[in-house]
Structure formats: C-alpha cells, structure tokens
Amino acid sequence: MSGKQRYAVILLVVLSIGMFLGSCAPAATPETGGETAAAPPPTEESPAAGEEMEPIKIGLDLPVSGPGGTEGQSIQRGAELAVEEINAAGGVDGHMLELVVGDNQCDSAVGVSALRSLIEVDQVDVTMGSSCSSVTLAVMPILEEEQVASLDVTATNPGITEQAGPAGGNIWKFRLNLNDLLMNEEFATRVIAEEVDSLALMVTNTDYGRGVVDVLTNVIPDTIVTEEYFNLGDADFRPQLTRIKDLDPEGIMIIGDYTEASSIITQMYELGMDQKIYGRGSVVTQSTLDLLPDEVKPLFEDAKEVVFYAVTEESADLAAKYRDKFGEAFNRDNGMGYFGMQVLAQAIKNCGEISGDLKADRACIRDGLEAVSIDIPGIGHVEFDDHHQAHYPMFITTIQNGEAVVIDRVPTD
C-alpha cells in the first residue's frame, strides 16, 4: 500500500467515525415532574458516629462528549447538584452517593462499551441514562443480561416504554420522562391541528426524531407537507429551509435541540420565512431564545412546544441554587438530572438494607424503583406503571413577550 493510499484508508476510517457521530441520536428533552418534596428524600437513619458505610455507586450513562455532549453534561450537572445535597444531608440511610460517568457519545456502539464498563469495571449499583434514544434502545438487552436497573430521564422514543417493565418484558428499564407517544398525540390534536392546516417538519436524523415523525404522521397525516432531516451537530439548514419555503406551509415544527433550533430560526429569518414555529425536544425554551439575535426574536414569538419538563415558579429555588453553583441558567436537562437522582435516592431508600452483595443490591434497587412514589415540586407525582413509565402532566410552553413560559399542563394518565 502506497503512502497516499494509506492516508486514504486512515481518512476514510475517520470520516466514517465522523458520519456515525453526526448521525447519533439525541435524547429526548428533559422537563420536570414529581410528587413529594423539592428537597432530596429525607434520610431516616444515620450511621453511628465513626461508622463508615459503603457508598452507593450510580453510573451516569450519558453523552458527555461529541455532538450530544451539551445535553449529557447538563444532565450530569443536575445530578451532581442533587447528590451534593443528598450527601450533605447524610446520604441515603447513611450511604453516600457516588457518581461515575460513562461517556456513550450518543453513539450506540460506544454506548454498549460505556455501559459494560460502568457495570463490570466500575461495578455501579444502578445507572441513569442513556439520554439518547438510539443508545437506550441498544443497551436495554445489556441491562437485562447484567441485571442492573437503569432510569432514563430524557430519551423519548416510545419503543423504550414498549419494551420496558413487566408488560414490555425488560424489567430493568425505567423511564422518568414522558415519551413521545404520550406527548405528541395530545400536542398534535390539541394545538397543531387547531392552529395550522399545513406543517413542515425539520427533524433531527435519529431514532428520537424519526419516532416523533412516526407519531405525527399517524395523528395528523394530512397536515404534514414534508419531512426534512438534519444531523446532530449540523450548522447549515438553508437547503432544507429553502425547500420548505418553496412549499409555503403555515407552520414549521423543529424536532431537535435548542442548539440546532436557534440556528434554524436564524436562517429562517435570513430566508424571509415567517411560518408559525412549533417544537419538540428543547426548542421553545429560554435557552433557544438566549441564542437568537435580537432582530430574530419576534419570529419566535408565540412558538409552541410540548415538553416533559419546563422550568416554572415551582422550581425557582432549585433554579437559583443551580445558577449559584454553576453560573448558568437552569434548564430542562439540568432539571431531569436532578429529579432523576431524587427518584434513585428514594428507590435506594425503598430497598431498605444495602447488603454489600452487588447482585443482591442491584436487584433490591430495581425493586425499590418499582415501589417509588414521590412528589417532586416542578413536575408532580411520580410512580411507574407496568411499562415502568412515569406519568405526570406534560407542559405546553410558548414564547410571550420575549420569555419562555408554560401556558398549560395536560394530564398524561
């Protein structure tokens, strides 16, 4: 092989990796919900003075690098805040919580390795993640095989719920956040169908994005005029938007993340488009608004989205604490990371005695998750159904006078 051929092979390998990175699935959008208290679950028993109890390891199976890194790191910071508070209050029955991060890069192949490393090398007791729907679906069989429970807080593909719980077959998977099926049907019929007759979809090219499209094309098939796709990390959306502009729909629905959404809306302005904007993911949020140039913001006014958590007054104290600690605005992903840790803390508490036998403790925490019944200020009451799916009212958000606000909460039971 000549030198240049060798370089060609190297470059092709790297490009292939790049393409996979670009097409990895972004997770769903986090929002809050919960039943009991804003603070972490209280600890009833503290260890005797001088007695050191084994820490409980929680694996964070998240994309903390690559194109999905923004979301994963946000979830991680929310989880860190919760763990700091729980440990400061004495831990869970005297056991300190310890976070171990496994970077799944929002890539299914990497995610399998990352999760196995968390389970076999780090020997975590329970995991939280995988954040991206594609990764979550890919690693669910591993959870079953290794018998480790996992709580998802942002991945929204309905297939996860279908396969989870006693009714779905995989008893080790739990989901705190609402899924696309729960949210999109209501949103499509209550909001979109009432407001526009034609809608173009700008969709992130992932299992998550395609899952949303499947639901929408079933519920409002005659309204959708086109589906245009983009990859996670893309920055230029003008070709897709030019095509949409040519079709002249009344509305455009952006299914993705606030990072891409802000670029899409700015480029809509550039192309002179004035379609009504809808979102899924974390589109109609303060984070998107903050990334828009001032002149573009009026285009975003009155945009609407359904989400599984939006920051409301109920979460004001938590948002303030987060801002003090991390110096940035509290968002959906931070919230879900925080609430997920609260749920896991209660599951560990429900478990009763942590024996030190890893296999037994993992099973015990799984049982504890099934018994979770907690009120979380900001989202509502959380219990898991027979598909291990939590139910609480979804949030309908909009932009009013340059601010993201919640205008409605719709039950999902």
């Binding site: 490009l15 393409m19 670009g22 194109p67 890194g69 990859n231």
Partner: protein, 290 residues
C-alpha cells in the same frame, strides 16, 4: 428553475466555509505530510478567541476578527512547535496518535474553561439581509463567501509568487532535496502551520457570529473538510477548495431533489466516486506538490 439556482447559491455559501477549513488542512498535509486530526478543533479554538475578544472583552468586531486570525496564526506556530515537531520524523502512527490526542485535549480544555453550553457572538451583520433578486443572504454569510474568495486569491499569489511560497512547493515535491538547495524545511513547516491555521482563523472570525460557539462545533466541519481534501487530491490546495464548493453544492441539490435524510451519505458517496475514478484528485494532473 428558480429553486435550482437558489440551491446553487446556498451550496456556494456553505462551500466557502468548508473551503476555508479544507484549504488549511490540505496545505498542511501537502507540505508537512501530516494529517492533522485536530484541524476541526482549530476552527473551534478560533471561534472561542473571537468570543472572548468580541463578546467578553467587547473589542470592536473588525479588530476582534483580525486579532482572531493573527492569534490563530500564532496558535499554529505553537502547535507545530509543541505537537508536530517532536513527532514529524517518527512513523506515521505516532503523529496520528499525537494529532488525535491534541484534538481530544483541545476539546476538553475548552469545555473545562467555557463549559459545554453554546455561546453566541452575534454581529449586526447576521440580521442585515442582502437581496440579490430572489436570493436572500445575510451580510455576514455574504462576507464569508467574498472573504474566502479573496483569501484564496491571496493564497495562490503567495504560493506561486513569493520565495516562501516557492519553498513550500519545493518541500511538498521533494522534502529530502530541499536542504541541499538551502531550504530550511523546519522553517517552512512552521510557516505552513501558521498559514494553515490562520486560514481556519478566517473561517472562525467570519462564520462564528452566524453559528453557535460550542466545544463540538469543529466536528461537523472537520468531517466535510477531510472529504474535500480527499476529493481534491491529497494535499492539493486548489483541488480541496474546488471540492469543498462542489460538496456544498451537491449537498444543497441532494436536499432539494433527492432527500435530506441521507444528504451526508450522498456527499461521501461522491467522495468515494472521486477516489475510484479520479484518485489523483479533481483538478490534479498527477505528480506531486500542493
């Protein structure tokens, strides 16, 4: 037909940004014979330079943009001195690991300093729209296109007319013979890195205001730049520039007439076709050199 021309214009606008990044990558490969896997992160680092100068320090935009390009040139010199020089005479897998390591390092350093949350460095030019018939484009995007063309003309003049440019061509053609005729190869490599990195700085300075500034922003463009460099004929700067524009246009037309679902796949199929049927590159007539 109108929509066809609109998409061609979209492709040219996108291609100019690909080309700025690809040109630096091709230049470095052509002269130094190193595939710099950290090149996408150079673009990201440049964007953060602009963010710090323009947003945090409130330096006027044009001064901040110029300073970004100069700082990136200096960054390239430091990078060559610290990362490349120690490994340049080692086997290829050593520099492969070195530049991959640098990529991860840069990404993580920036994440630690600035966090993963996207920032913006908006200028007034992104919301000022120029209407060219049916085509609408922001002044900022038009600026990227015009400046890229200007920079490519300057680059060609430099490479073909100046003593250093001729030395770069000589090194790219026969590195071993250059010392015999008095060419300081190490100095040429240093200048090449400075220019290649400054080209990326141009992309950062003028494109970053249109985009979100975040640690992973280089991945997407590095992938496209690598494809353009391969299509252009490894190390052929003008070939890489032409291929970058072609790639931008192909993506826009595929999104319009085929599907946006697999637009990146089609782009790389195009790359494979070039490799199969014109492995020497789109504009190359064979031989060696930049």
């Amino acid at each position: 037909m109108e929509i066809f021309f609109l998409q061609i214009m979209n492709g040219l606008a996108t291609g100019s940004l690909y080309a700025l990044i690809a040109a630096g990558l091709a230049l470095i490969f052509g002269v130094v014979e190193i595939v710099n896997f950290a090149h996408g992160e150079f673009y990201m680092v440049g964007a953060y330079f602009l963010y710090v100068l323009f947003v945090l320090l409130e330096v006027p935009y044009w001064i901040a943009a110029l300073a970004t390009i100069l700082l990136m040139g200096v960054f390239g010199v430091v990078f060559e001195y610290l990362i490349i020089r120690p490994v340049i005479h080692r086997p290829w897998w050593v520099w492969l690991v070195a530049t991959l390591g640098a990529q991860v390092l840069l990404l993580n350093i920036v994440t630690v300093i600035f966090g993963a949350t996207p920032k913006n460095a908006h200028t007034v030019y992104i919301s000022r729209i120029v209407e060219l018939g049916i085509f609408r484009i922001s002044q900022q995007r038009l600026m990227v296109f015009l400046i890229s063309v200007f920079v490519f003309i300057l680059l060609n003049i430099f490479v073909n007319r100046t003593k250093m440019g001729k030395a770069m061509r000589a090194v790219s053609q026969n590195r071993n013979m250059c010392p015999v005729v008095g060419i300081d190869v190490q100095k040429v490599a240093l200048v090449t890195f400075a220019i290649g990195t400054a080209l990326t700085g141009v992309a950062s300075a003028f494109a970053a205001p249109m985009l979100n500034v975040l640690p992973t922003m280089g991945i997407f463009y590095a992938t496209k730049a690598f494809a353009a460099v391969i299509m252009g004929g490894f190390g052929r700067v003008n070939g890489a520039i032409a291929a970058a524009f072609l790639l931008g246009i192909a993506e826009a037309l595929i999104a319009q007439y085929v599907t946006s679902l697999y637009v990146h796949v089609f782009a790389f199929v195009l790359m494979l076709l070039v490799l199969l049927f014109r492995p020497q590159g789109l504009l190359s007539r064979g031989g060696v050199g930049i």
